[in-house]
Symmetry: C2
Subunit: 400 residues, 2 copies
Amino acid sequence: MINVAVLGYGTVGSGVVEVIETNKKDIERKIGASIQVKYILDLRDFPGDPYEDKVVHDYEEIVNDPEVSIICETMGGMEPAYAFTKKALSKGISVCTSNKELVAAHGPELIHLAQSNKCNYMFEASVGGGIPIIRPMNSALTAEHIDFMMGILNGTTNYILTRMDEDGADFRDALKEAQELGYAEKDPTADIEGYDISRKIAILSSLVCGHYVNYEDVYTEGITKITADDIKYAKAMNRVIKLLAVSREIKGKLFVMVAPFMVSRDHPLYMVKDSFNAIFIHGNTLDDTMYYGRGAGKLPTASAVVADVVDCARHIGKCITILWDDEKVELTDANKLRSQYLVRVPASEKAAAESAFKISEVVDAGFANEFAFVTEEIDHDEYEEAARKAGSVISRIRLV
Amino acid sequence: MINVAVLGYGTVGSGVVEVIETNKKDIERKIGASIQVKYILDLRDFPGDPYEDKVVHDYEEIVNDPEVSIICETMGGMEPAYAFTKKALSKGISVCTSNKELVAAHGPELIHLAQSNKCNYMFEASVGGGIPIIRPMNSALTAEHIDFMMGILNGTTNYILTRMDEDGADFRDALKEAQELGYAEKDPTADIEGYDISRKIAILSSLVCGHYVNYEDVYTEGITKITADDIKYAKAMNRVIKLLAVSREIKGKLFVMVAPFMVSRDHPLYMVKDSFNAIFIHGNTLDDTMYYGRGAGKLPTASAVVADVVDCARHIGKCITILWDDEKVELTDANKLRSQYLVRVPASEKAAAESAFKISEVVDAGFANEFAFVTEEIDHDEYEEAARKAGSVISRIRLV
């Protein structure tokens, strides 16, 4: 019998209990043993809940029960999740988590602690929700030198951008709708400013190189400046605007950035809509691969946590290989990453813009008082310099 | 030191050697040990080849060398691959293969033999080329009850259909082009008649249920009857024609089939072009996921074989869980699977067709002498009965 404890009975935590109960037969076949949720840790009580008798308020009760072999940490945030995780791992109890903040901040330390205690720290659900991406990265793409990743890794912003694209909604209205539907939090800053996605690409970049990419070093632009007019330009260009996380190795240098991009209709990321996520990975011999699925949501995220539980249950007393040490990776200035830009300037500034930028294509989206064009491929420093010369820029978005 | 032998120095076999040599540093970091190709088995000699000194002609030399711990079987076909694999596994040597014929025919027996001898039989490359799909299925989607899979799993037919779609080519011309480019074999029967893809969906369906789905039981239609006119209808309907493998569980019954389908522009499989493959999987709590990548080609396929080598090297003397026994699964008659059909009849038969079919939509692709329509959702027996009543049918294709 595998005894599991769930920390935090919120959206993901209650999803974990639901997935284990719903798919118990399938899961037990895959583990080769029976499984049960023995404890649910929460500050609250849940009278009437079918699992109310499993709810405890004291973590010590869980971590000191020798029958508990796996803990699902679905609390989120740094504390007490960090302290609880360390205590469990140091006692040889495996921890499966959806907590990207904690993984992005302390992944290497917690993995090392797990390995020292013959247990596992697993975090499939921390990136891409229900999409299996951490496990393919650790155990399937192992013959590859991965030199490029690009992903839609935040369901909230993708939902907002899809609404703006399909309904012509303004950013503020689309955000409000996302909040009403529960896709965006009351304080949406972490999502719309790109902080959430920067943690996820930092985790993936770390796993690719085996060292520590600090999410605070990732160049990050959010989607708050995207307007309904920008969307009209995207449509005129047969493109959609997506918030992308990009990680690219060029001649041994690693560039990691988060920014809105105009994605062409030919690109596999074009059709990733609503709260779906996808991550596009290029390997030197494998060429392109892509992984697509629900990037958020109670059950898909919980399913990824429970897949980790199955893996831990299959490896009681053994360590699953995850190569991620705490050697810090120096990122190269993302301003040196090259791309084309759509640039919009007032029609009155056309001559100045033409002399400041190397223009590859003029774009007409029906705005008589604007001059808009696509630049040749330049890096961001070159863009900034040309923009200064051109004078006033209404907006600019990178192309991919 | 991990010593590897490669059986068959053809396209995939030489790719395996190339991937190991090219990415040796990355691979050794992931294994935590050094690796070398010690033997290459082939009937031929390869004078001038950088690895000519590794070529041997006698399998006994390989299988009796106690230093060899992993064999890559990239010969294809049933014999001698089957005998060689059994011999290796019975001596505790792990085998990694791209041989879908052998896996589809003898997977359960070979997995069992490996497990009895504390080694592994791995076959990531047998389905979807470079796309990691076997490993996600075995180790990532483990919390799920998978009830639906649908995939583009054959690069040759997808290349042909893409050429027909994009260039308006006839089937015969597109096939000829594919043969000239090396995407199709001289005898293309296994690909264009759907036999190759039926083996792949049988393997995936087996892994989902843990028992044996015989590829010979899979209802299979190829693409030889698709015409340039069918493609024009697809375009008029904002669709593309794809050869799909479908596996669907409905109330405990399993339906598995291979047939051409018209895929709508909204579907994630719409944009899977040329020799790319993708597999779309639905789980009861995970919802939709999709895996996309190179479905064929020397290096992508070899990369998948070498990922298996890495996994075997990490598990010397230990068994990786693969649940697939030889209990035969009775498939349910695929004629009971329901879908909509595009049906084309001569214009003169319009009245008969209107009385025989329940029509949901009339389609105009500019053929004055034809009447074409989309049916309501029916099963294939119902389709056949209506088609008999209608009289002459020019062509019919399922919709998805």
